[in-house]
Symmetry: C2
Subunit: 180 residues, 2 copies
Amino acid sequence: MNPIQALADRIESQNLWGKEITIARNEYVKMADTTDTNLYYIVSGSLHIFVDDGEKQHTIRLGYQDNFIASLDSFISEQPSELYIQAIKKCQLKVITKAAFMEMVHSDADLFAVWFSLLEQMIFQQMEREKDLLIASPQERYRRVWERSPQLFQHIPNKYIASYLRMTPETLSRIKKKPT
Amino acid sequence: MNPIQALADRIESQNLWGKEITIARNEYVKMADTTDTNLYYIVSGSLHIFVDDGEKQHTIRLGYQDNFIASLDSFISEQPSELYIQAIKKCQLKVITKAAFMEMVHSDADLFAVWFSLLEQMIFQQMEREKDLLIASPQERYRRVWERSPQLFQHIPNKYIASYLRMTPETLSRIKKKPT
């Protein structure tokens, strides 16, 4: 079983979800300069995490069904962060607090190992993303992300994927029609 | 005690360093397309990790005295990675293999907690870096890194810091003379 599903199933069976919320399209789960240490499990819908540099919004993470999303900087530091979390499509989210989550993973060595390996995967994925963004060719950036996460393109509208890949929506459309 | 020092001291006291190596200025610890799962403790000198996109080298990490450096992607995945690790100044490095390191941290719950919190810090720092690079103003990118890591500027020549901050060495010199 994949580690995300293992964690979600355990939270479910131990009845640790704090609440279940519905977020309308374009509504915010988190605003900049706030602290949010919750983990959100996406039952349905999709979201993005973005930074606003005063000129435009830069999407840095995308989340969709059967995955967790969180403002990881705030989750780790328990301090305010610049990140926004916004629904791209109407979302159904299950929420667990950091306190409840950490208590759960610390209560069971196997579960802690799952969490630990997920943290390692996050570091690995962040490094892959850092390398992706250094590649000058938009075609090549598209190709790398498509090979790693083809399901992204089924769940997320072009506009947000384009921002995530640091290209215009027009460039992304052109590449999708003629990838090479 | 800081987590890095705690880990280095324990490796020392358990006599787990595999070897100690000297790397001349500009020599490589790791080349692209190789697997390197070692952790390197920097006794003296400085290094950078870079990606070569075919057109130029992009420095993505900097390491100096009393810190660890590693090709974390390769360390985690145990697969080849595109990263280069190169000495900026002549280095004295102590080396521990992943196997020896993981055996050590798994043998002691307190030490494992140190390693775990270091992984969390890495995720946090990677996110800070991702946000830094989205900031269009070179002055502001400089300011954020200077506030977080002032010691970087004592150990690393301008040329590499400029690449790390995605600006030309000339822009960095100008900003350092007149930060605001």
